[in-house]
Each structure stands twice: as C-alpha cells, then as structure tokens.
C-alpha cells in the first residue's frame, strides 16, 4: 500500500480510516506499488501458500499479516456441466461463495480485510450498514477477534439473516426503512462516533477484499481469465473489483491478457444499474427497491457509475429478473448442481440464462457465474414455492401405494 487516492480527481490521502475525497466526495481507493509486488508475487509463490484468500496478500490492503478472518476464501470453483446444458452454453463454472467461511457469503472476504485493517489502525469497535450478509460477517468475525460490533440493518430483513447476526452477541439495530435509509443514517453516525464502519470510513480497504474472488477464479481456472463473468450488483462494488482483480493479475504478468467481459445482474424490483446499462446511459437514476433479493436492494448504488463504466469497457451487458424468475433460477441451480444459493444467486443465474438466450453471452463461449450467498439464509423467499414433503405412516404398504399412484413401474413386485 502506498496511499489512498480519489478515483475522481486523483488527490492523494494518507492510509487512514477515511473514504471520500474532501474535495469532490469521490471514493478513495488504495494505491499499490506494483513494480515492487511483481518481484515477489509469482505463481509458484502463491501456489505454495495456504488455501485462503490471503495467498494474494500483497494485493490486499493490510500493512502486516492479517489478524481477522485468516481462514476466509478459496471457495470451490465448480464446473457446472448440467447447468451449462440447461442454459445452452458450451462451458459454465460456478464460483461458490455460498460456502465461504465463516458466514456463508462473499462478505467474509471484505470483512476480514476491513477488520484486520481496523485493528492495525487501533479501532476496538466496528460497525456496518448492511442488507444482511455483511451484518452476519461483521458480527461473527468481530466476535472471534474480540471486537465490539454494532450492525445496522433494515428491520424487515429475512429472519435467517437477523438471527445470524444476533447469535454472535453483537449489537443489532433494526432500522425502520430500506437499506438506503440505513446507509444514510450510518453515514451520519460514522461522522459522529469514532468507530470503524467497514463500508463507510473503512470502505477503501473493505472493498478491496472483493478482488480475492477474482484472483481465485483465475487461479482455479488454471491461470486463465474467464471470457465471461456474471456478477450480481447491489452497490456495484463487487463487479468493479472483479474487473480490477483481472487487470491486476494481468498487469503483474501472472496470466496473458486475454479479453474478458463483465456482466452485471440485478433484480427487476431494484434495477437502477441494469436499467441504465440497457438504455445506454452512463449514469443511473435512484429507485425505491421492491424485490425478494433483499441483499441486492440498494436503490442508490455507490459504485453504479463505475459498474456502468466497467461493463462498457469490457463490452459486457446488464440484465434483470423478476421475483418469479429469481425463484426459478434458484431451483434450477439447486436441481442441476446441488448448490442452494440465496436470492442474489438466483438473480445471477437468471440473468445468465437471459444473456445466453439472447446471444449476448455466445453459446460457444465459457462463463463464470458468481454465487455470493447461501440459500439457507433466505428460506422465506422460496418456502412454499418448491413443493411440500408427502407424509405417510411408517408402513411399506402406504409407501408402495404412494409410489404406485405416481408410476406403477416404480414398485418392486
């Protein structure tokens, strides 16, 4: 790490807990010394390290060894042949952060960076504004690190996500409003209280953690940049960081710079970025979210502008799917690959299906879908939409009667 730098005007700032440029409010980003990193970060150096996200440590913004979330990352990259067939594409991969450690979403990546850095900067209380997954991860990782945590969430979140924050003993504050309102309040609290808000004043460090998902995809593909990557968009931060991870690995000479396309996925009930992309605009209009994909329900996406830029630069596309399409896609992924994703995963798979069907992702190509969270946390969204168990008495006769009613040939004479 060399400094923090404004993405809008280029002004530089010291490596402190600060997130916006004093001049134009542009987001600050960590600057690295790539020439120095290039000397030590080779494929063999990376491959000799533990299977966690920290095997790419030089490209993550901590000064010393990480102290929080040291086991996070290196989730499976699954070759999804059955789903590929169902969607009509030659080759398909699932990057499965639904099984990330410890809280089953990609947020463990950003939180381990944010909290490790927060400790380096001397903080003892951490906080976040969250649509759920981030709250879970801050609560769990803060607990294991002995940090005090305050997590702020919309009060109407899925039960699973609320319990998954409470259990770690953190202070969970439910705000009567949607995420954008939680965000606004947290910006004001962060300005007044000296806490490390992972996605407010720690944001430059926090956001960089997402790159590890992209680094892993490249390495797990056998040091290749995927042709197509489909990424769910809430604030749009993950999409921009996946792009950055590909750029960095190419810049360091660890892979040859083959062309890549980054595609963005949103829910139709909260589609400010995909709407702008489809309309050919380079700015978005905020919306009031109304979707079952609550983890993506950000109506004023902070990285919306940069997401649109990345999609334009990489000739990627955006698309959105309705609540019914989200549920269908969750089922399709589960039935084809045995992966139970949360609603955001349904958004990603549903959008991939649409982009492949219309040829925006050509059928002859290869694509990676980023699944970022676990279906066990959003049971409410699919409960009642995937059938019910059939109940019988513990009797062989009843079982065979049931089987025969379905298909007589199934019954063993």
């Amino acid at each position: 790490m060399k400094a923090l730098k404004c993405r809008e005007c280029g002004r530089e700032y010291p490596l402190a807990a600060t997130h916006v440029c004093e001049f134009d409010f542009g987001p600050l980003e960590v600057v690295y010394d790539y020439a120095h990193i290039k000397k030590s970060l080779t494929r063999s150096a990376i491959e000799s390290r533990a299977h966690t996200m920290w095997r790419y440590r030089e490209l993550l913004p901590v000064a010393d060894s990480p102290t929080v979330g040291t086991q996070v990352g290196f989730t499976p990259l699954i070759k999804a042949d059955r789903l590929a067939k169902a969607l009509g594409i030659r080759e398909l991969w699932i990057k499965n952060d639904a099984v990330n450690y410890p809280t089953l979403s990609f947020k463990d990546r950003v939180v381990s960076v944010a909290l490790s850095r927060a400790r380096e900067l001397g903080f003892t209380t951490v906080a976040c504004a969250s649509t759920g997954n981030l709250a879970n991860s801050v609560a769990a990782n803060a607990a294991s690190a002995g940090l005090k945590a305050y997590v702020f969430i919309p009060a109407d979140l899925e039960q699973g996500k609320i319990v998954n924050s409470l259990i770690y003993g953190s202070h969970v504050i439910g705000i009567k409003g949607h995420y954008d309102e939680v965000n606004r309040l947290c910006a004001e609290i962060a300005g007044k209280y000296g806490w490390a808000f992972v996605n407010v004043n720690m944001r430059p460090y926090y956001a960089e953690g997402s790159k590890s998902m992209g680094f892993e995809i490249i390495e797990q593909l056998g040091w290749k940049i995927p042709q197509h990557t489909v990424v769910p968009m809430a604030s749009g931060s993950l999409l921009t960081k996946i792009h950055k991870s590909y750029q960095e690995i190419a810049k360091l000479g660890l892979v040859s710079e083959t062309p890549w396309h980054i595609h963005g996925a949103q829910a139709t009930g909260c589609n400010p970025i995909s709407h702008a992309q489809k309309a050919g605009l380079d700015f978005f209009k905020p919306v009031k979210p109304h979707t079952i994909a609550k983890s993506l329900a950000i109506g004023t996406p902070a990285d919306g502008f940069y997401s649109l830029k990345v999609m334009k630069e990489t000739q990627g596309h955006a698309e959105d799917v309705t609540d019914d399409e989200i549920r269908e896609a969750i089922k399709l992924l589960a039935e084809c690959e045995g992966i139970f994703a949360e609603t955001a995963g349904g958004v990603t798979v549903g959008v991939a299906k649409k982009l492949i069907a219309c040829g925006k992702i050509p059928a002859k190509d290869s694509a990676v879908l980023c699944v970022t969270g676990n279906g066990l946390k959003t049971l409410d969204a699919v409960n009642g939409h995937c059938g019910h168990p059939r109940e019988i008495k513990p009797s062989l006769r009843e079982f065979e009667t049931m089987l025969a009613a379905e298909d007589k040939s199934l019954v063993n004479a």
């Binding site: 969250s130 649509t131 996605n199 950000i298």
Partner: protein
C-alpha cells in the same frame, strides 16, 4: 424560512467545524448558494461545473433523496432538515 443543514465531516473544515448550519432559503438551490456566501468554496464541492449536484453527493430533505423530489428546485419550509451525504458502498 429556517432550515437546518447537517454538514458532513469532509466539509466541516469549510464551516469552522460547525455541524449544523441554519439557512433561510426557498429551495435547495438557494440553500446551496446561501452556504456558499457564508462559507466560500463549499458550492464547488457540492455541484459540478455544469451546476448539477456532483455524482457522489447525495442530498436529502427530511430523509428523502432530492432526486425523488425536485432536485435543486425542491422547495423548503420552516424546520426542514437537509442532509448532505457521500455515497456508501454496498452491504
């Protein structure tokens, strides 16, 4: 018509560390101009050369984003609270 403007941390150097500033303005646009008169330099932080509110600045009147109201033409009444807030990453 007195409204209160909550000044975000990055701009408090310009307001002598004042967190809450009272303005007498009919619209958001007028309020920004009044702030500029009292705290020179603050306007260019909030609006770009074309006069539009900057990309990463969100302005709220009583907790509602002005982009859902009438942007800089949004009318103000006695007791309104204006917040100026930088965009935040996802969660």
């Amino acid at each position: 018509m007195a409204s209160k403007v909550r000044i975000p941390t990055p701009l408090r150097k310009l307001t002598n560390n004042e967190e809450l500033v009272e303005v007498n303005a009919a619209t958001i646009g007028d309020a920004i101009n009044e702030l500029q008169t009292r705290f020179p330099g603050i306007k260019e932080r909030l609006v770009d050369d074309a006069g539009a509110v900057r990309r990463f600045v969100n302005v709220y009147v009583n907790e509602e984003d002005i982009r859902f109201l009438e942007n800089q033409h949004t009318k103000l009444k006695d007791g309104d609270e204006i917040s100026i807030i930088p965009a935040i990453a996802g969660g």
